[in-house]
């Protein structure tokens, strides 16, 4: 993965905004910190986020800065009550987070690797997502969860999942997938301030990505996608890491005279149906790119929406470029083949446009 600057990550008005080039991981931590300062009810929970404790003084050591160093320095600043280290009990502490959200706090849970959400799946699906509805609207669950997804780092089958489709499937839950430093700042802030349970998924391949980030605080409205490139020949739909892959593919396609439009979905539930339809009505061709395995995936959902609501504008079959229907293999070569690469997108676009 190389770092790639988006043409215009913020949309119109980007020019002249004060800001700087930053790393995804630093923006993530800074945003967490800003939200904790902004609202005293916001606190963080997760395994190893205190990074150990001194045997004598019982003081947190912050040895790792939390998983993926996402919370480095925060325990010193906010103390162990607000950076609450949890034993390895995902069901228990996600459930406790739901309970604390139901009683007025705004917990943020670090689930480390995305795969571990399965251990806490019942608390997420049966309690976090359903409480508001089944109790007739008398309560809310202002809970944020985050975890790292994706293949590409040699972690093999049980530490490389991208099954965000399963979360987006669940009514009551919101799901966001930042793809760069700009979007993680706006989406994480929006997630924490939102009154519904929101799951934010970081692809591991994005963590060291750099990109322009405005200095001012801002939120990105949940449920909105964005164009990261305009073009008339074909629409490429990306989410999380695949937004970057689409962007790279689009730039290479441009050298062949194919102008692709790139949409970064940013939110998966709710998602921006309008931008999808608008773009496809313009380009009449679409390739949806998803690292998740294909069956009943978000790629399927976007394809289904387009095949229903933009049917009359389609000049060609709706294409998906996805991972295979398989677990993630360990071997690097196989793992690379598992991940949708820019080259795969390019091949599909060429075929779709009859330019083989």
């Amino acid at each position: 993965m190389t770092t790639q600057k988006s043409v215009n990550p913020l949309g119109p008005g980007y020019e002249g905004v004060p800001g700087e080039e930053k790393r995804f991981r630093d923006v993530f931590r800074d945003t967490l910190r800003a939200e904790m300062i902004r609202d005293e009810d916001v606190f963080l929970m997760g395994e190893d986020i205190s990074g150990g404790f001194d045997k004598e003084t019982k003081e947190p050591l912050d040895a790792w800065g939390g998983p993926f160093a996402a919370t480095k320095g925060l325990v010193q600043e906010f103390g162990p009550e607000r950076i609450r280290d949890a034993p390895i009990s995902e069901a228990g502490f996600v459930g406790a987070a739901v309970g604390s959200a139901l009683t007025g706090l705004r917990p943020v849970v670090d689930l480390m690797y995305f795969d571990f959400v399965t251990v806490a799946f019942d608390q997420l699906l049966s309690n976090a997502a359903k409480s508001r509805y089944m109790f007739g609207g008398q309560t809310k669950v202002p809970l944020t969860l985050f975890a790292r997804s994706g293949a590409g780092t040699g972690h093999a089958a049980q530490h490389s999942e991208s099954f965000y489709s399963m979360l987006a499937h669940i009514p009551g839950l919101k799901v966001v997938v930042p793809s760069d430093p700009y979007s993680v700042k706006g989406l994480l802030a929006a997630a924490i301030r939102d009154d519904d349970p929101v799951f934010l998924i970081n692809d591991k391949k994005l963590i060291n990505l750099t990109g322009f980030v405005p200095d001012d605080e801002y939120v990105i409205e949940l449920g909105k996608g964005r164009y990261t490139r305009r073009g008339d020949d074909v629409t490429l739909v990306g989410m999380s890491y695949t937004s970057i892959a689409c962007q790279q593919a689009a730039e290479m396609l441009a050298t062949e005279g194919i102008e692709a439009e790139v949409i970064d979905m940013m939110s998966l539930s709710p998602f921006d149906e309008d931008i999808l339809l608008e773009s496809v009505m313009n380009t009449n061709r679409v390739v949806i790119v998803d690292e998740d395995t294909p069956r009943a995936s978000m790629a399927s959902e976007f394809a289904a929406i387009i095949a229903d609501k933009a049917f009359d504008y389609l000049d060609a079959p709706v294409k998906r470029v996805t991972a295979p229907h398989s677990p993630v293999p360990y071997n690097k070569g196989l793992e690379d083949a598992f991940i949708p690469q820019p080259a795969d997108i390019i091949t599909t676009v060429r075929k779709l446009l009859g330019r083989e």
């Binding site: 034993p87 069901a91 228990g92 502490f93 406790a96 309970g99 508001r132 109790f135 007739g136 709710p270």
Partner: protein, 332 residues
């Protein structure tokens, strides 16, 4: 005895209200007026009553599929409960929850919960909120769950969390001897579930769950501990459900008449009556006036529920989320 007169009256009122609510609810269920499955808790009046006697609206409880008793002991309105069971718009959850999902956040009631064990960490989370806010002295969490639920891993995770974080929680295990038809002697690998508490760094107390005074005393200590910031306690309340697992279950298919008689002989309400009248703490007349009031309450509750309107069709799409209306009212 160390209980005020008001408290005694409250205890009797609450136990009798639970008893009569369940009986009335079953009647209505058999008349076809409930919209779904119901799990009656009559027989088990002492645990919720003896525990909630120490709680206020600022304290939180988590509950189970068998939650009516917990609701009533926590002060929920029986009219709205009955209406909820009948699926009405005036129900506690607007008719969208039903018997297994009655909640009242204004009363500190986190909800009945139909997934066995799933509500346990919610009470831990409520206690975490109290500790975070520094208000343990006025807000503790009580988790009600059954002997069957004690086999769920999430209980053990919750106990460990509560102990490691020293949270103001009481784990209230209502051991009624059965999980559906399965006896606890089969499914639980300990003589007393409470014996597990020590391994999680908290006291474990076995309590006669048919004796509301015993429950009241044990709960008093546990809740005082929690309010004092001394951490969690585990109570195992040995009790019995008089009816089947759910309304249509026939318990004699898996338990004996002798066993049923043994518990009915130790009925929590009858022993309360005996004790307070013998010790002249309450008069028979007072007891009767309480019962009479409850009888009337039940008639009104049924009436209210039966005559309440159904929810609007639009309620199907409401309250999936807080701040945007459901974008997908069924693709059709």
């Amino acid at each position: 005895m160390d209980i005020s007169k008001e408290k005694l009256e409250w205890i009797y009122t609450t136990m009798y209200r639970i008893r009569r609510f369940e009986e009335t609810m079953l009647e209505q269920t058999f008349k076809g007026n409930s919209m779904g499955v119901t799990h009656p808790s009559d027989g088990q009046e002492a645990p919720p009553t003896g525990i909630c006697a120490h709680l206020t609206d600022k304290d939180w409880i988590g509950s189970t599929h068998r939650g009516h008793g917990h609701c009533i002991a926590k002060g929920l309105d029986t009219h709205k409960m009955m209406a909820e069971i009948m699926g009405k718009a005036t129900g506690q959850c607007g008719g969208k929850g039903g018997s297994m999902h009655i909640a009242d956040f204004s009363k500190g009631m986190l909800g009945a919960n139909a997934v066995v064990g799933a509500s346990i960490p919610l009470a831990v989370g409520a206690a975490l909120t109290a500790k975070y806010r520094g208000i343990e002295n006025e807000s503790v969490g009580v988790s009600f769950f059954g002997d069957g639920a004690s086999s769920q891993g999430v209980l053990h995770e919750s106990m460990n969390l509560a102990s490691v974080w020293k949270l103001p929680v009481v784990f209230a295990c209502e051991n009624n001897g059965y999980a559906e038809a399965t006896p606890s002697w089969y499914a639980v690998s300990a003589d007393d579930i409470a014996s597990r508490a020590e391994g999680y760094g908290m006291p474990g107390v076995v309590v006669d769950g048919m004796d509301v005074f015993a429950v009241y005393d044990a709960a008093g200590e546990a809740i005082a501990r929690a309010r004092a910031g001394e951490g969690p306690t585990f109570l195992e309340l040995k009790t019995y459900r008089y009816h089947g697992h759910f309304h249509a279950d026939v318990p004699l298919n898996y338990r004996t008449e002798e066993e049923e008689k043994y518990y009915h002989d130790r009925d929590a309400i009858k022993s309360f009556e005996k004790r307070v009248t013998e010790q002249k703490l309450m008069t028979a007349k007072k007891l009767k006036s309480i019962r009479d009031a409850i009888e009337k309450e039940m008639v009104v509750a049924v009436d209210f529920a039966l005559n309440s309107p159904m929810p609007d069709a639009s309620a199907l799409y409401d309250d999936v989320y807080v701040n945007y209306s459901n974008p997908i009212p069924g693709l059709r």
